[in-house]
């Protein structure tokens, strides 16, 4: 699959994904989450591709891409508890269907 650079750049910078390529596959790239790359794809010969972001004109090395993906993943992980706290503060309750009827 040939990915559009701009699409790829936006996606994996925001979500912690990386672009990988394979030495046996010419001009083929795939976007994957960093954990998937480390857990599965790296062992199958895929490598993280340097990334050119056409929006900023910057090019990132493999090391920079891993650091960016880790930072994005951490940021997203920190957002989740904050979101849950905010939901609790507003008094959000489970749907009525999820609540058990009181025992008589």
């Amino acid at each position: 699959m040939k990915l559009k650079e701009a699409e790829v750049a936006e996606r994996n910078l925001d979500e912690g994904w990386v672009i990988m390529s394979h030495p046996d596959l010419e001009d083929s790239y795939s976007a994957v989450p960093l954990p998937a790359f480390e857990e599965v794809w790296e062992d199958k010969g895929w490598t993280i591709s340097p990334l050119h972001n056409p929006d900023t004109g910057e090019t990132y090395s493999e090391e920079e891409r891993v650091a960016q993906a880790n930072a994005a993943a951490e940021a997203r992980a920190q957002e989740k508890p904050a979101d849950a706290k905010a939901a609790g503060a507003t008094g959000d309750q489970p749907e009525a269907d999820d609540q058990q009827a009181p025992k008589e």
Binding site: E15, H22, K44
Partner: protein, 158 residues
Amino acid sequence: MARFLRRGTTRFYWVPTIASAALVPTTAEVTAGTRLDSQLNEVAGFTFGNNPINAPDFLTTFVGQVAGEDTSEDSSLTFYEDTVTNPIRTLLAKGASGYIFILKAGTAGANPAAGDKGDTWPVSVGSNAPIYTADNETAKYMVRFINTARPAADVTMT
């Protein structure tokens, strides 16, 4: 030529990239993918169909039809969940795009090679979630796919 049991014969691969516009994968592309069937418990969808349109006329009482829109059923794969490591769940993360390549009658040799036939389904992962039940069964998770383009049936690997 012989009848066969799908279990133990049919192989499922997640292939990240296929260069061919006709969705014909190469041996290198399939080899660079990941085989899924060792943890695969159930398959749904991955079928191609058509919604014919009724086109009756006044000449006859028979309701003739013309071909309508091509469709595919909702597709999903259900995998066993491990207490420690679930690499397939990790790689089939929500939003991942690629191809499910199904070698329906397996492979001629030990590994996929040129000449083996299969179906290619361009997909992206719509959801990837555990299944919760109190029934007496092993824990599983289901990956639902979005069929993003027309599949290619009976393609021969190159």
